[in-house]
Amino acid sequence: MGAWLAFGLIAVVLLGAAAMVVTSRDLVRGVLWLAVALLTTAVAYVVLHADFLAAAQVLLYTGGVVTLMLFAVMLTRRLSGARVLVERGQGGARGPVVAVLLFALLATTLLRAPPLVSGSVAMPADTQALGALILTDLVLPFELLGVLLLAAMVGAIVLARTDGPPRKIPRLPSRLPPERQP
């Protein structure tokens, strides 16, 4: 009963926040709603006894990804003036089609997976076992992820760098020139 109540509450907040993300006209509001949605996902993990996953979710998604999005918003407009509005009706049917396909993919994967343990079983949330698993059986996907992130970083540097000699950051003299010393 308690678990269902928690699930219902989380589902309502999560879906509501997610709907606000896509319907919000103001880009900044949209990003902040996304933060709410991601935090609610972390709460869902806690209810499923995946505490480590919840902490990682908050650190990486809410703390990292959303912050980067805020950064992107800041870099796309001048530092004052009107709100950043989301342009509507540019993608045609592409958005809904991708969303439906993604949902179908996730749903079929989840339906094929072994059923979740029902009830309030206190699963031994063993972070040590998780770490050992990542470095033994799952080491290949782990390393592949590392390569992927490295490639993304190299790509970002290539995009950001300009040709020509690197721009020097002017350095202030460590002390005042002699004639200006009091």
Partner: protein, 324 residues
Amino acid sequence: MIENPWLHGLVLGLVVVAVVMGVAAFSIWYERKFAGLLQNRPGPTEVGPWGLGQLIADAIKLLQKEQIVPAAADRPLFLLAPLLVLTAALVPLAVIPWGPGLVGADLHVGVLFALAASSLMLFPVWMAGWASNNKYALLGGMRSVAQGISYEIPLLLSATVPIVLAQSFRLGDIVAAQEGLRWFALWPPGPGTLAFGLFMATALAEANRIPFDIPEAESELVAGVTVEYTGMNFGMFYLAEYLHTFIASALGAALFLGGWDMGPLGAGLHWMVLKTLVLFAGIFWVRWSLLRLRSDQLMELCWRWLVPGSLLLVMAAALWVHLT
């Protein structure tokens, strides 16, 4: 303690929040006196003995002031931001162990929880900067996000060192692993000590304090994100900053200085409080001794020195655990 875990958590939580809020508020008086001492001036003297009543006078003043919302501000976000800042600052208190059994929730991912929760403080700060619709506030918010996201990496990595040494995320286990004065700040000598220094330095950066306070550099940004806030809305930002610093000190004491345990001198709440207050005073000392770093120096220090350095420390700690 109390048998019912819900009641235990609730009572302990309320007591801890009340006491810590009081201490954080009181520390504003202490910092001003301390600064006066360092700078050869008296500090607050007028209200009450040694100016002790200054704090109460300030609080009454802040509570009386009008709450001004700028016409061009994003009203809901503007009003929500100070509440969220204070909330995010208070959340990590839940997992800090004040004594044996004296902890709100001894989560098995306690350290991660505390750091993840305190990283959430960045959002409301940025929100305040954005919603104020003021250039200084926005620049302050932007700087604080840039600084926060950069310094979070060495902060997490330096907190990983005690996790590796104690082989647990649970703050209670980490304190227990340091029993008998085997503090991680002292033993093993290399990684532990350096990680302690790094943790405190990056915690300063996370709390936006000198030498890492460019988000609110008063000489260039007036007051950063708080520039448009008045009355108690401003007071909440101020209080959250002190709370954040206090909680960082408490985490430092639990992670590196053995928490509530003091070896042959016994164990208890008082040692944890003492260690926290010593670290807290150390942070004030730093504030009134050092200069502010420039923006580019700040980023260079973080990405070129602290991030690789903290990675090396984690590796050294892992090697130590492997060899012993």
